[in-house]
Symmetry: none
Subunit: 209 residues, 4 copies
Amino acid sequence: MSSNNANRKVRRAVKPQRSHGKARVETILVAAAEVIGDKGYDRATMAEIAERAKSPIGSLYRFFPNKEILANALLDRYAVLINAAFDAIDHVASDLPVETLADTLLELMVNLQTETKALASVLEANAKWTKRPKFPELFLQRLIKVLRHRAPELSANDAQNVAAVLMHNLKTMRAITFGKGIATGPDVAAELRLMNRLYLLNRLTPNRK
Amino acid sequence: MSSNNANRKVRRAVKPQRSHGKARVETILVAAAEVIGDKGYDRATMAEIAERAKSPIGSLYRFFPNKEILANALLDRYAVLINAAFDAIDHVASDLPVETLADTLLELMVNLQTETKALASVLEANAKWTKRPKFPELFLQRLIKVLRHRAPELSANDAQNVAAVLMHNLKTMRAITFGKGIATGPDVAAELRLMNRLYLLNRLTPNRK
Amino acid sequence: MSSNNANRKVRRAVKPQRSHGKARVETILVAAAEVIGDKGYDRATMAEIAERAKSPIGSLYRFFPNKEILANALLDRYAVLINAAFDAIDHVASDLPVETLADTLLELMVNLQTETKALASVLEANAKWTKRPKFPELFLQRLIKVLRHRAPELSANDAQNVAAVLMHNLKTMRAITFGKGIATGPDVAAELRLMNRLYLLNRLTPNRK
Amino acid sequence: MSSNNANRKVRRAVKPQRSHGKARVETILVAAAEVIGDKGYDRATMAEIAERAKSPIGSLYRFFPNKEILANALLDRYAVLINAAFDAIDHVASDLPVETLADTLLELMVNLQTETKALASVLEANAKWTKRPKFPELFLQRLIKVLRHRAPELSANDAQNVAAVLMHNLKTMRAITFGKGIATGPDVAAELRLMNRLYLLNRLTPNRK
DNA sequence: AATGAATGAGAATTCATTCAT
DNA sequence: TATGAATGAATTCTCATTCAT
């Protein structure tokens, strides 16, 4: 809302030395996720986040020098979870039937969402000003990796494009599962699952089509 | 001056009397679409919208008594275009092959976007406070209508769910076509088109499955 | 940012923690009394009050979250003084000749005015929107108490009505003493004192009438 | 609320030439009295006054070039009524018993109020910035005239001071009769009447005291 | 002359960020 | 070092007044 994005030293989230600090940072991130998830990035105030975290606002600023850095920390935290989830999938990807793989990938974001529920909204809010979209990049790379693992015959280009569509499907899945409005709910999720399966079957199965 | 939330007339966007005014309103709407599309609803300021429209702030408020009403006007304007687009499709829907219908629907939002460029982003911004999600509802209803027209054997429930997935595909198509980040571009759009075709073929063709 | 009238905490004047803050609040209150007393509630701007108090506008809002709360704080502050003044009178009321009591009461508001100069004007300004007229009520109750103390034979009803007239006399006394226009000045005050004495003598002395 | 009181040509309310215009002006004044009486001078908007008068805002400004002039016109209109009321009293003043005269004067403002109910609030609102307090002056002069008529032995000075107190009593009467808050109502009015009688009896009856 | 749309200075209020303690 | 009070730029919205039609 204010300004001063320019001529400011490059700053990052401070990594706390003491274990006490780590817990504090974790609490703040959880609080931030909740408040931002609830109100959206712009309407979430640093004061409310601090209050929800039962942390003095001064401490909050100690660890996260400004709101943007806090939001980015949220993303980083999310990235860790994503990597872990993909790591788990990587191990079994080649043994899974395509349909199962399709379903598994689709559920991935939902499962993450369950853990870090409100995080997602940060993404959209941030998308408007974040300079480096490293987060979607990571996501895409991990999807490409899974695809090439499962279907080595897929060209690099195809893998990239299929992964992109997949990524959008995951986003859609999240919206369908956690969204409040119209076009949500379990029945719609089932439809999406069907579409996703049809698509991956077509693209990952050599002799079809 | 102060509060007086009670006993205040219901406020709507004013329809300009003078012919000059109509152009002015149009200019404001375009400016609002651009600024909101660019910065998002919360970060878009009425002052910037006014400036972009080369309109004094007072005039802006004359036509749109507050920011929310302005955003709703944007939505209404978009709704008109959507209805027109669907009307055009309705006429030819039953004669089209499923694949063509699938592609046509998918392009719909892209075509709209071309005309009312940044409008779409208002939707998400608004989602946070809009009481009645009449806009997505409209979209969904029109999709259902097309589907039932083309595949009368589809149950009401199925039509609703398929339409929901379709709607998400349209959104995705918009993101892919106009998005700036990763996972965008013509190749990805082609993939999405493929998926969308596979899905509709499966759901709208009676004896397959 | 926008509305959110619901689910918002009840807002009150903040009590400053730091010792410096207490002086600041006092300064603001004095400045507010002066500016509001001078210009009236509506024409007094928060910016001018802040400036007069040599306080940044943000600080003003820190202590008094909005204009209405500031005005109420002014009233509360005044109420404390009034109570103290009446307490002092209560102790001697029964021993005073009626004429002296009459004069003493009449001077009360003038004395208060001397200390909290422009406070009074807030009352009228506030009359327009204050929900609970607790302040005049307090005044009236204290007057009733004095009257019944001094003349126990007065019925509750009579005491209430006499007190009401007395209260108006006090207001008049203030206007005469501090007013700028016509019908003010010491000679007029002397006349008012006479009238007030005549009236109380008539109402509080048992066997006259 | 805005400014520009300085360096502006001296302007007055335009006197309409046509009879149609006179009716229009009257309507506007009535509307202004109602709206200002209802909301207070500052919160009353020119637009609402125009609307209530069913007069285009442009017309309103034609007759009353700004808000202050409109308010002054309201006062002038009131003055005419006051003069008429005093004229009526002047004719009978010398024949009336003091008590009756006292009551008659006290009712005067109430009677006026009945006709131009909301006018009163303009006085206070205007008192803050009106340069020439000609209105209270008129009132006072007419009261002095009545007093000297009825009690020629009263010194000029005494007449002035008694009239001043009387004037305040009239104001009080108005507040008691039309006020909404505490210390109002018919019983309080009866008490005020008593006080007023006692006072005038004392001051206007030669051999008492 | 009459009208009411257009204007923009000014008012209240918020909140990210700083810094005295 | 930790805290939370203090700050002021930025934002939304109003309304007296003007002036094109």
